[in-house]
Symmetry: C2
């Protein structure tokens, strides 16, 4: 579904363009078949090929990269409309990118931020420094979250001493109990919305804690410099996948939406349209909710099937506005906006390293994304540009080009940033997340124990699944 709201953009560039039709009507054979050519699937495939195995990768889309996607504006400026940031301790995505020659540069992070809170707007160095009461309340809450998060075992969150209590409540319930100061509550809500692209009422407190621990703590999650938003890829985040796919060559088949997976004592058979791959084992490198949409023979056992019914995807719209220059910088502004109302709660400077052209990226997340998701692209654009102008001045409302990405409308992602766990799911279904089912192994950033939900987690999950397969073969 193309909901592109701005001018026409250059179509996605992919390294491999062979469609499944070229596979021929015959069944092909491989040692391992990988479903999904995002970072998880491609990482797994590379390791398996390196170990001397025959590998086939089936990808539903006519591009690789999954939740990374790079587009180009009409003047050739590269825009990451999906995952885009990397930061310290994200060692596996860093190593993978380096191995294919994809390089990074620091995110722009100088100048004052713009804060909108309770109807007032001001410039500030930080987001807490205007209100001492807010500062105390939020710092207490963050400390409590970090201390609790540190107690969540990353490979088995359901075994935390307090897992039952933490998984029985929403993050919203925790926020309400933690502080009675409404501005602090709203800021805590925003930190969850900005990280998961959902509302705090949807998610288990245990999941929030697990996610924080997996990322190394709240400070790392929210920070730009030194944190999860530290750097960006010069060649675009999707380039990691397109180059990997280029290496894998005709092992990667595009346009192959897998609908059926059969297995028996001898092997697996994965069918996409009229075509099939027979292999000894399969890695399904998809979010749990999409893995649940495949028909399995024999049928999945209930304990696994019901997990896939329970890990929905977040909701985010990224709208990027392109200007002749990053005019906010000359006004001493970072381009970063944190707003407690409106459709856009976070804005960042997303200009290329050269600083020309200027680019702002507006994040619409959670309920705001659902509300704007019902509107047509022109209406969405009007709403978002109006808020950009209100926060950063009239020029911000007059970009020369707009590129929008509505991730909930992407059939083969189901939403972004990632699958999350509502209350009760970790404790009742956690053991089913990674447990192989016969010859089927599970990958995808949702299955990662470090940096889950991030590109780094995706790579780690693919490497872990590949190791599982190698050990089993």
């Amino acid at each position: 579904m193309d909901r592109q709201g701005g001018r026409t953009v250059t179509p996605v560039r992919v390294a491999v363009n062979r469609a499944v039709g070229e596979l021929g009507a015959e069944q092909t054979r491989a040692d391992v078949v990988v479903v999904g050519a995002g970072l998880a699937g491609l990482s797994a495939a590379r390791l398996l090929v390196g170990a001397g195995l025959d590998v086939a990768v089936l990808e539903a889309r006519r591009r690789v990269g999954g939740r990374t996607l790079t587009r180009w504006t009409s003047d050739g400026t590269l825009l990451d409309v999906g995952a885009q940031w990397l930061g310290p301790t994200q060692e596996r995505i860093a190593a993978l990118a380096a191995s294919v020659g994809v390089t990074s540069f620091p995110s722009f992070d100088s100048g004052d931020h713009v804060i909108l809170r309770a109807g007032r707007r001001w410039r500030a160095e930080g987001i807490l420094d205007a209100d001492p009461r807010l500062q105390v309340a939020v710092e207490e809450a963050w400390k409590a979250l970090d201390e609790a998060a540190a107690q969540v075992p990353l490979d088995a969150p359901w075994t935390a001493a307090n897992a039952a209590a933490w998984d029985a409540q929403t993050a919203e319930s925790w926020i309400l109990a933690q502080t009675g100061y409404e501005p602090a509550r709203e800021l805590l809500r925003m930190s969850i919305r900005g990280t998961h692209a959902i509302e705090p009422r949807e998610v288990s407190l245990l999941h929030v804690l697990f996610h924080l621990h997996a990322a190394g703590g709240l400070g790392r999650v929210v920070a730009t410099t030194g944190g999860a938003q530290d750097s960006r890829f010069r060649e675009g985040a999707q380039a990691v996948s397109t180059r990997l796919a280029g290496e894998l060559g005709d092992r990667v088949v595009l346009g192959a939406a897998v609908r059926e997976v059969e297995q028996d004592g001898a092997g697996v058979r994965v069918a996409a349209g009229g075509h099939a791959v027979a292999a000894r084992r399969a890695i399904l490198a998809l979010p749990p909710t999409l893995a649940g949409r495949i028909a399995y023979r024999p049928a999945m056992p209930g304990w696994r099937d019901q997990l896939t019914q329970r890990v929905p995807m977040g909701s985010v719209i990224k709208l990027q506005a392109v200007y002749d220059e990053p005019f906010w910088r000359s006004e001493g502004l970072s381009g970063q906006v944190v707003a407690d109302s409106g459709a856009v709660r976070f804005i960042y400077d997303n200009s290329p390293e050269s600083g020309r052209p200027g680019v702002l990226v507006a994040f619409v997340e959670g309920d705001d994304a659902r509300r704007l998701g019902h509107k047509d692209p022109a209406e969405r654009r009007t709403v978002v540009l109006g808020e950009l102008a209100a926060h950063l001045g009239g020029r911000a409302g007059r970009p020369r080009e707009v590129v929008e990405q509505v991730w909930a409308d992407e059939e083969h992602s189901g939403g972004c940033y990632a699958g999350f766990f509502p209350p009760g799911v970790w404790t009742s279904y956690g053991t089913a997340l990674r447990a192989p089912v016969g010859r089927l192994h599970w990958a995808g950033t949702e299955t990662a124990t470090v940096w889950t939900g991030y590109m780094d987690g995706a790579v780690r999950s693919g490497e872990r699944a590949a190791a599982e397969v190698l050990a089993a073969m």
Copy 2:
């Protein structure tokens, strides 16, 4: 998947046995295509046929009836292994059953119940009368629930004045805040587990309130005589669907698992295997989670697709034990057991109207069902029969036959009793539950506004969807 733990049972009897292969490779035409031959789909189809339309009903299984399923023991005794009860105000299932000559009889409801609480076991007329403090705490809680439930608009729960607060917390959070008396908390948990087959930590308080209001209040939900467990079908619950399907004749196609639904300005095309039906409109009479597993062209908009990621099914195992006679009756027992520990929390007398043979039905729900769902049928049987014996005496542990049904393992149900709404889903996605998407209309008990989750809700949902289609054609 056949996980039948006991002796061989007579295969399901179905009125129509034509497989999709007989449809021929050609595309067939109809005015309306209905996906799913449970009570919702068949009710819809009957109304549409009555209005003079050509209708095709595609059913994935080789039987009709969906979450109703009747089996026969080796001596020909009928057992409902799915939905089985009906009660006052369930007018639409009653009318539908009457119209096809399916009759009902009162559930057995005489004698003392057996109560297991905090390690003690005793006989009692009610479940509250042994502990005055428990009685006060639970009655206060039930009153609070009923009063809140009455404020939930049945056609739009998200518009309740307190919807935001109720949907931001789990039912477990509400229980913890409502009473500090642990036995009362446990009884409240059991009332939710017994109604939804889930744990209170999984579900939105708003959903629990909506469900109560839709059923006419908590008293009606939990009662046998005069309540939701009032009566049973003499011919078995599935007979309503098999007779309806018989009326519809070769309009119903079995073994037709729908994987793709296309629509455009002219009509819809529904594909099941190599076959397809072209029609003007479609009714998808499936739980939301299963509707989400179909590939749609064009792809579902995100606001609808993400709903289907967020309404998982409950988890219940029904194990029925057959004895020469209902020996508990002569001991003055009702056969009803309410236990606050163990795998089986509820037991009922499920003997046929004649009282011969004697049948007990044990319900394993929520986490107990997930835990036992990992075990093999023999282990499950040992656990459940051990508890039957502990509660109702040694004879209860020695049935002459056992019939088990693990609903989470049923690929084309995904679980039972119904789809439920975790926190945040009603308020963020409620408007997507029934809203047609182009030429596609949604049915299934989850979409009902009265007796949602019950057979009656299924029938009402089918009738509503049929009316929608008739109005649109």
